[in-house]
């Protein structure tokens, strides 16, 4: 499993309002200038739309077995073929999209909430910095997949536990980025001014520092989303993730292993779904990082 690319800890410049455009509009404009990012955004939007509307657009009931149609190759009736129980692979991939994206999204929420809190505390409340950073160092000393497996071994296989385990795994990465950015922002004159005006620490942290950390946070969140999907698939494949009866993309590949040699579409299509989603997220993440950090535009 690849490591997460480092998001820049530099907060986004906020001089854009001077020209009458919101920072979001400018970032979007920067993103849309890159054809590859546009393709990735369209692909991601399509995947999200399919996942959101799966219940209405699925051609078949993904759980309905049809023994007479088992292991049929892709055809006009079943675009992605059928599995060993005659279930429509395309419908199962659509349902799997809901679950895999949901896991990715929830992992991002868990890691972003806890990582931001820890990072802000470490970056602003200096006495806590040492303790919190040693804790994140220790958690980052475990490879992602291994730590996730260990938590799953303790917690047992379930969707909630996968989210919890991956949330814990990725929290230190968010905490590191947020802390680094908070250390920069806390020295800014406006934070100093707020302190001089007697603002309370929570007000400074959440009202003045946090909004200026959103750029690195958003970039990191995009990559975590991508890697959470990959790691969830790996956990499901190993049989320690979401229970096998739930059709996540990883479970579909794991279940198809023994039939793969006669029916390669059973592995091919769920795999392509993972690759397309993760690739699109990575390209968007890269684009966001470049758009939010002008220094990187010069390097890459």
């Amino acid at each position: 499993m690849a490591s997460l690319p480092a998001a820049s800890a530099t907060p986004a410049p906020s001089a854009s309002k001077a020209r009458g455009r919101s920072p979001a509009a400018l970032i979007l404009r920067q993103l849309l200038r890159r054809p590859l990012v546009v393709v990735a955004l369209v692909l991601l939007a399509a995947i999200l739309a399919v996942a959101a509307s799966a219940a209405w657009i699925m051609p078949y009931d993904p759980m309905k077995m049809d023994i007479l149609s088992r292991m049929k190759p892709p055809s006009s009736a079943h675009w992605f073929g059928t599995d060993e129980f005659g279930r429509d692979v395309m419908s199962r991939i659509m349902q799997g999209a809901q679950l895999s994206l949901l896991v990715g999204l929830l992992v991002v929420v868990v890691a972003a909430v806890f990582g931001t809190l820890i990072g802000l505390l470490a970056g602003y409340v200096r006495p806590l910095d040492g303790v919190l950073m040693r804790l994140t160092d220790a958690l980052m000393a475990f490879p992602d997949i291994l730590l996730a497996i260990a938590f799953m071994a303790a917690l047992g296989p379930s969707l909630f536990n996968v989210v919890l385990a991956l949330g814990i795994v990725y929290t230190p990465r968010v905490a590191r980025v947020v802390r680094a950015a908070a250390l920069v922002v806390r020295e800014m004159p406006y934070v100093e001014a707020a302190t001089a005006l007697g603002a309370a620490t929570p007000r400074i942290v959440f009202l003045h520092i946090l909004p200026n950390l959103m750029s690195p946070l958003v970039v990191q969140a995009t990559f975590i989303f991508a890697y959470a999907i990959l790691t969830e698939a790996a956990l499901s494949f190993l049989g320690v993730g979401v229970p096998p009866t739930t059709p996540t993309w990883g479970n579909m590949i794991a279940g198809a292993q023994q039939y793969f040699q006669q029916a390669d579409w059973l592995v091919l299509f769920p795999g392509l779904a993972i690759v397309a989603t993760v690739l699109a997220l990575q390209i968007v993440g890269d684009g966001l990082r470049d758009a939010l950090d002008p220094r990187l535009q010069k390097v890459t």
């Binding site: 499993m1 690849a2 490879p143 997949i145 190993l238 795999g271 993972i274 993760v278």
Partner: protein, 313 residues
């Protein structure tokens, strides 16, 4: 340098102490009684009580942790519940395969990542560069188990060039063993080559913009000499770092790859332990792999001084 090494080792000990605490806690967050979970529903209360005593679960939590630390200090990782032998022995028996697989995978990732990264940086902005970045992103997006299954299908079943699974018969020679590791190493190496490629490219781009590279070019040196002799040497630090990190990541990545290819390595042992809830093995493996991970990071840092004479501690 000596002071730096001592300081880093001390820092590493602190991190490992917290790692040990995390490993200890993980086995204690099991819902219900860990001994009952490990033995399953058919266990009698006597069996559960005996296992609780054997694992020290009847002691207070702090006492359990201290016992655990003492055991680690003696390199005693406990006894496997299902294998009925020391965890350290079980890990050692399977470590050769995992080490070889990791080394081969690192080799493949480096062979792909470093030259393509250099080429990409040297041809910045051209189609070769764009293609390399695209391929790197694609490689990083593909699950290693999916690559593994695809390789088995096309290069072991349809074209029987490589063994489908396993590590060969017990009396197999080194070459036969290595042949069994080719496909797993490719499956593990390809996704990890992406990170090496991207770091190599970024690191080379940083260096290629430096004054001394411009001077070398102005002296009329060939582009090949400028890139490989002048730029690459100074770009090596980040590249070495990422190779070290990738090697550490691959040890864990082997968990998935060994399962796909049915290789009896440490990864396979971990998955079996998780499925059987053999917590001593899970704890031992977590501790050993994270220690290797931390040690590789330390070694990479220390290598800096060797590779770059400007680095002084």
């Amino acid at each position: 340098m000596f002071v730096y090494i001592v300081r880093r080792l001390a820092g590493m000990m602190v991190v490992m102490l917290i790692v040990a605490a995390v490993v200890f806690v993980i086995a204690r967050v099991v819902p219900g009684d860990p001994a009952a979970v490990m033995l399953g529903s058919s266990a009698t209360p006597e069996d559960i009580a005996a296992l609780r005593g054997r694992l020290g679960l009847d002691q207070p939590l702090l006492g359990q942790f201290l016992i655990y630390l003492q055991q680690i200090a003696r390199f005693d990782l406990g006894e496997s519940i299902f294998l009925n032998r020391p965890v350290a022995q079980a890990l050692a028996e399977r470590s050769e395969l995992t080490a070889m697989l990791t080394l081969m995978s690192v080799g493949i990732a480096v062979i792909i990542g470093v030259p393509v990264g250099i080429l990409s940086a040297a041809m910045r902005g051209r189609w070769v560069d764009q293609a390399a970045i695209g391929v790197a992103m694609l490689a990083a997006s593909v699950p290693s188990f999916w690559i593994g299954l695809t390789l088995i299908k096309y290069l072991a079943v349809d074209l029987p060039w490589f063994p489908v699974a396993g590590y060969g018969p017990p009396d197999a020679g080194l070459l036969e063993r290595l042949r069994h590791l080719v496909l797993p190493a490719i499956a593990l190496g390809i996704p990890n080559s992406a990170l090496i490629l991207r770091f190599t490219r970024t690191s080379m781009l940083d260096v290629l913009g430096d004054d001394y590279v411009r001077t070398a070019r102005a002296k009329g040196l060939s582009p090949l000499v400028v890139v490989l002799k002048h730029a690459l040497r100074n770009a090596m630090i980040p590249i070495l770092t990422v190779i070290g990190l990738t090697a550490a990541v691959m040890i864990a990545g082997a968990i998935v790859t060994e399962t796909v290819f049915g290789l009896p390595g440490v990864g396979n042992l971990i998955v079996s332990a998780v499925l059987r809830r053999d917590y001593p093995v899970i704890q031992g493996a977590l501790l050993v792999v994270s220690a290797i991970y931390v040690l590789i990071n330390l070694s990479v840092d220390l290598l800096y001084a060797v590779v770059d004479p400007r680095v002084r501690y």
